[in-house]
Each structure stands twice: as structure tokens, then as C-alpha cells.
Amino acid sequence: MLEIKSIQVCYGPAVALWDIDLYVNTGELVCVIGPNAAGKTTLINAVAGLNKVSKGQILFNGQDLSRTEPHLFCSYGVALVPESRRLFANMTVLENLELGSYVKEAKALRSQSLEHVLELFPAMKPKLHAAAGSLSGGQQQMVAISRALMARPKILLLDEPSLGLAPSIVLDMFKAIKQINASGISVLLVEQNVSLALDIANRAYVLEEGRIAQEGLAQDMLNSASIQKAYLGIS
């Protein structure tokens, strides 16, 4: 479904991602892990259209996204849950959700999508008319994921969903992500919480200093010594 071929992404003079090859099959949950500043956010932003790709291609169901206008990505079925949520803080939760379904295809199904996300995260119901910025971290994360779901995506991109959240909330979050994937939506997940990410994923890639260092089945990576070394520096 999603195929990233030898892409290179630059930040001004610096190259952030070198020659990345990655793929996500329909229905899969793929995670990308790696130390901080490895380029994980850059990668996900490139897939979402927020970063320009200087070399290579991003093929989504045959469509070359790297040659497409950024605002069209959503209508092709790509939805992003960005790092630190990035909700429209001055707008209400409901307005945020409505904006999630801004594109034509999603707008037609807006009321159904709304029902669906409220079933998934019932805690949002009482907060529908509250300003999004006034919610707690965990609540904001629910809204951010719901906003993306409102776009009726074919693939859901998540950038470090556990960031800044209390451990118990993180567990619920990951359960929800697993549920979403089970309902048929492919997921590309970037995460610093290695255990949780590898636990729910089918396959994983390890990104280090802008390059893919390892790839394979998530189960195999869970106990790998090289992961421990990369993250904790202990050998």
C-alpha cells in the first residue's frame, strides 16, 4: 500500500534522511523506532506531506505522493497524528473533529465518523464543546487520533503518541491503536517507547542517524541486544 523508495529529506543545508526504503502492506501495523534525533519525525512528516522529499519516491496505492501538492495527501487517504498532538487549541474539540473530515470524501460521512470515534473514546463526549487547548495530555491525544480517523484514512500515521503522557494512559492509547489497526486501517507508527511499539507491531524498522539500521519482524527485535545498546549505551 505504502512504498517509500530511496527517499532523501533535507533540512536546509543538512541531510536528515538518507536513502530510506520502507513499505507498509495493507492492514499492517509497522513501527519505526530509534534514538532521538534519528529522523523519525522527519520521516513521518515526509509521508504526511509536511516535508519535501529531495530524492526518491513515496508511492501510495500507485500514486506518487512526492510529486503531489501537500494539501491533497489527505484526500488520498493519509491522515496524521503529529508529535505533541498539535490540535487547533483555540477551537473546540468538536470543531477539531469536524476539521479532520474537511476533505470532500470524509465530509460526506462526517456524522457516522463522529459516532464511531465517540464509541472508541467515550471520554470525549462531555468535552465536545471545550477548547481543545484546555484538555489534559491524554485527552488531547484521544482527540488527535480521532481527528485523524475522521478523515476516513486508509493509512494512519502516528508520531510518538506516548510523548509526555502518563504510563497508564499510554497503555490505553496503544490498545486503541491496535483496535484501529484491527478494523482494517494500516498504521505506520513512530515511537520512542520501544517495548510497546514492538509489542503491537507486525514489523519494525530501526532508524539511526537518518538511515535504516535494521528491519524485521517485531517479535524478533524485542529481545535484540543491539536495541539495548542503541538506546541505553550499555554493551
Partner: protein, 283 residues
């Protein structure tokens, strides 16, 4: 000590005039708050519209309100087009302020060239019409301006709150990248917004031509009051400028009654400086 009747009449007149301030400030505030542009050309367009409205009614000898059908759409196109053009050049917000300043100077010179520095007063049938409510007079032009101001503010509020496009505008102002990620076409929407702000200037200009005697040098005298209205009312707000305008209008007229007319200009700035002293984080 002025009579109660005089005070109330002044207050009402000030309130109505404040509506006009609010109408002028509406477009400017939307542009500043949502586009991040301080568009000084707003004043140039305001006066251009006023003069065109004058010319239109005088030449064709018809009711000036017909200008409402022609000028706002035309100015919408001008504003949108200008925005698209300027957008091609990447410049700092301050440089765009200077650029729009340059535009205003050109428009000002253009107005002076076509209509000369002579005073121009639009003569129309209803100019002496007044509504009377228990001894208080509500002049036609001022009341109409007030009504238009309320109408425009309400329309803007409704669009911002209820339509997808309005929400998209607010989203772009908050986080342009995320808006794009959810399919909002930033270029198109901001262009429409810019056009709307200019159209609002056009409507305000028609009102100005109904109320005031026109003279090119007056262009700059409005800048101060309108900016005070925008800053007090809040950038990007629909009803804020209207309320701030009414407050300033009433304060000005009360000042005129109790102190002297020529002190009126100082009122808005005193209020503004007061705001800055007491609540600097509000800006």
C-alpha cells in the same frame, strides 16, 4: 453643565459612529489576526471606495446604495488578486506593512489626481432623513452604517463559527502545516480571506461617502482610531472591533460634550495606552 438630552444625543451619535469605526476595523483586524498582515492599504481602499461611490452616484444620479452591489465584489477581486501577487514574494511581516504603506501612498496620490483636493460631498435624497425616538435623532447615514456594521460582523461571525471554510481559516491562522495535512488549501483560502477584507473596506467606504465630506488628506486621520479599535477589540475577532468602536465612539462624543471637540482624537489613544499599561500581555 450640559443637559441630559444633549448628553444622551451625543452618546447615541457616538455609538452610531462607533459602528462605522467597527466596520472599518473589522477587515483590518481579520487581516491582521488571521493572515498575520498589517494591511495599511486597507485605508487606501477605504477611501478609493468612498470616492468611487461618490462618483458613481453623482454621475448616474441614482441611490448610492446600488454601489453596494458593485463595489464590494470588485474590491474582493482586487484584494484577492493583490494577495496572490504579493504572496509570490517572500517577505518579512514588517516589509509587507511597508509595502502596503506604499500602496496607500499611491492610492492617495491617485485619488488626489482624479478628484483633486477639493471637498466632495455626496448629495443624495435621503441625506437629511432622520429617525426620531423620543427626542433623540438617529440620522439616516449613520444608522445605516451602524446596521451594515452589525450585519457584516454577524455574517463574519456566522461564517467563522458555522461553515467549514470559516473553521479552515481559523485553523490556518493557528497551525498552517496541520491545516494542510487535513486537506485545507491554504493558498486558496487565504486569498479568499484577503478578498473579503478588501470587500469589507469597500462597504465601509460607501458608508463614509454617505456621512462625510470627502477630502484626500483625511485618509491618514483615520489610521489612528481604527488601529485603536482593532487592538482594543482583539485581532481576528468578529464582534470585538464593533464593540470597541462603540466604546471609543461614545467616549469621544462624551469628551466632546464635556471638554472640547478638538480633544476627541486623544480618547482612543488614551484608552489604548491604558490597556498597554494595565494588561500588556493582552496584545
Amino acid at each position: 453643565m450640559p443637559s441630559l438630552h444633549l448628553i444622551i444625543q451625543s452618546a447615541v451619535s457616538g455609538l452610531l459612529l462607533g459602528g462605522l469605526y467597527g466596520l472599518i476595523g473589522l477587515g483590518l483586524g481579520l487581516s491582521w489576526g488571521l493572515l498575520g498582515q498589517i494591511n495599511l492599504a486597507h485605508f487606501g481602499f477605504l477611501f478609493l471606495s468612498a470616492y468611487l461611490s461618490y462618483q458613481f452616484s453623482t454621475t448616474f444620479a441614482i441611490n448610492p446604495l446600488w454601489a453596494l452591489c458593485i463595489l464590494p465584489p470588485a474590491f474582493f477581486a482586487i484584494g484577492a488578486g493583490l494577495h496572490a501577487l504579493i504572496r509570490r514574494f517572500k517577505m518579512t511581516p514588517f516589509n509587507s506593512l511597508l509595502l502596503t504603506f506604499g500602496l496607500t501612498v499611491i492610492v492617495d496620490a491617485l485619488i488626489q489626481w482624479i478628484w483633486t483636493a477639493d471637498f466632495r460631498k455626496l448629495e443624495y435624497a435621503q441625506s437629511n432623513l432622520k429617525l426620531e425616538l423620543s427626542g433623540i435623532y438617529l440620522p439616516y447615514a449613520e444608522s445605516l452604517s451602524f446596521a451594515l456594521s452589525v450585519l457584516c460582523a454577524s455574517a463574519v461571525y456566522w461564517v467563522m463559527k458555522r461553515t467549514d471554510m470559516g473553521k479552515a481559516v481559523r485553523a490556518i491562522a493557528q497551525d498552517p502545516q496541520m491545516s494542510t495535512a487535513f486537506g485545507i488549501n491554504q493558498k486558496f483560502i487565504t486569498m479568499c480571506l484577503a478578498g473579503t477584507c478588501t470587500a469589507l473596506a469597500a462597504i465601509a467606504g460607501i458608508c463614509v461617502s454617505l456621512i462625510f465630506t470627502l477630502n484626500p488628506s483625511q485618509l491618514y486621520t483615520w489610521i489612528g482610531v481604527v488601529f485603536a479599535v482593532v487592538m482594543l477589540g482583539g485581532l481576528g475577532s468578529a464582534f470585538g472591533p464593533l464593540l470597541a468602536g462603540m466604546l471609543i465612539g461614545v467616549s469621544e462624543s462624551i469628551t466632546m460634550v464635556f471638554i472640547a471637540p478638538s480633544w476627541a482624537p486623544i480618547v482612543s489613544f488614551t484608552l489604548l495606552i491604558g490597556l498597554l499599561l494595565l494588561r500588556p500581555d493582552k496584545i
